[in-house]
């Protein structure tokens, strides 16, 4: 029901375009710092852990680079990052809409004749679906770069071994798979959080509760969809 209102014809596309750019800035650009930091450290830790656990002389050290690349591209960047974004972006969306609901700002939009569901939720959804893949690409690059820093900085493995591993059996489809998952996760984060925010009843306590429900709900759905999409696309 809510989604039908969200996807009904917008009153003014011109205004929606401005709102989409604004939401890209608020939901996406403002998350770049967090994404960069997390990705660097995740890549570095994966590289370290893999290197310290490969102690057989029969296994080439280039597998460290390979394992880092595959872990980052297939799982850490799209899934872990989106779970973290579900916390940051999802709670922000749910609490923003919830506060607007309890302070009657959504009622004010409805009374003016504005389709409040579409005006408030659609730009967030489009912004997330368009911008999150860029965040995940940044995350993939920086995750692999984090491993590179470890190999150069700690000397735990030869730089050439790491670079060989990065180039080993590279499949472009794995990046496509990661980005397709991201599109689904972006839609899940915005719609689930928006639903819980938009339908708040009561006061500020309910805003907090629904904000938490939004994060938990979208995280669970991300995990379920992660499994289903992997089953469909990789098996």
């Amino acid at each position: 029901m809510l989604m039908r209102r969200v996807f009904s014809k917008p009153e003014r596309w011109r205004i929606y375009k401005v709102r989409i750019l604004d939401e890209m800035d608020r939901l996406g650009v403002s998350s770049i710092g967090l994404v960069a930091l997390l990705s660097l450290f995740m890549g570095a830790v994966i590289c370290l852990q893999t290197a310290t656990n490969l102690d057989s002389p029969l296994i080439p050290m280039s597998l460290v680079g390979y394992a880092t690349r595959e872990s980052v591209i297939l799982e850490l960047a799209p899934t872990m990052l989106c779970l973290i974004l579900a916390g940051k972006v999802g709670s922000s969306i749910a609490s923003e809409l919830g506060s607007m609901r309890v302070t009657e700002q959504i009622d004010a939009l409805d009374i003016m004749g504005v389709n409040s569901a579409s005006y408030l939720i659609l730009p967030k959804l489009i912004a997330a679906v368009v911008f999150f893949p860029f965040l995940i690409i940044i995350s993939m690059i920086l995750g692999i770069f984090g491993g590179y820093i470890v190999s150069v900085g700690t000397g735990i493995l030869e730089l050439q071994d790491y670079l060989d591993g990065i180039h080993m059996e590279f499949k472009v489809f794995h990046i496509v798979y990661g980005l397709i998952k991201t599109l689904f996760f972006a839609a899940i984060i915005t719609t689930v959080s928006a639903y819980y925010g938009y339908t708040v009843k009561g006061g500020s306590l309910e805003v907090g509760r629904n904000s938490t429900k939004g994060v938990v709900g979208s995280s669970i759905l991300i995990l379920i969809f992660n499994y289903l999409l992997t089953q469909i696309m990789l098996i």
Binding site: R12, D107, A108, D110, I111, M112, G113
Partner: protein
Amino acid sequence: MIELKDIFKSFDKMMITKGVSASFEKGKVTQIIGKSGSGKSVLIKCVIGLYPPDSGSILYNGKDYTEMLSEERTEIRKKIGMLFQASALFDSLTVLENVMFPLTMFTEFSKAEMKDRAIECLEKVNIIDKGHLYPAETSGGMQKRIAIARAIAMKPEYLFADEPNSGLDPQTAIVIDNLIQEITQELNTTTVVVTHDMNSVMEVADKIIFIHEGEKWWEGNREELIHTDNQELQDFVYASKFMKRLRQTLMKGGLS
């Protein structure tokens, strides 16, 4: 003109509004009074379409709102100006952007024309050079006035206000009342105000409707309110000893 016929509204099997019928005339201020929880706000929210009534008709110039198509309802809503209890200004927009908002959504005005109209509305409510501020940076009274400016930006045919004086000092409350009255006369709007504030009722009400336990208990004008022998209404209006003494004085013709 707006007519209500037998409006019933319930939430979770609890009947809030019980068959209210009333009419709100053009160019007049109708004030709906009643205790907290008597169903006044629910009634007004049914009238503006926020809550669909369980049964009954809401006629806008003879046309039933409850039977209108979605597009027709949107057209009616564009003619409505609403002043909420908590002002309901958009936090993320400046004062000027708040007032310009309905114009950007529904008119073909150029940006300069919208800005001129918004400034004109803000000046009408005596807010000058504050357009750059955000609502959180203004006082409660100022927020109410900004909300009035936003409500009149589209030159509405119908103006609704839900407890516009709540949380305001008596002087600011009178300013708000006078603004509502001026706008009603100037734009010839059908104005409906839900209030607890008896000062406001005695100041600007052309017609008063008393809601008691979800039913319309009494209807009349200010003069009739003073002389009413309706016990529930007397208990509500003259709740304090001061008001009781004031009424006795008025009845004796002690005050003009």
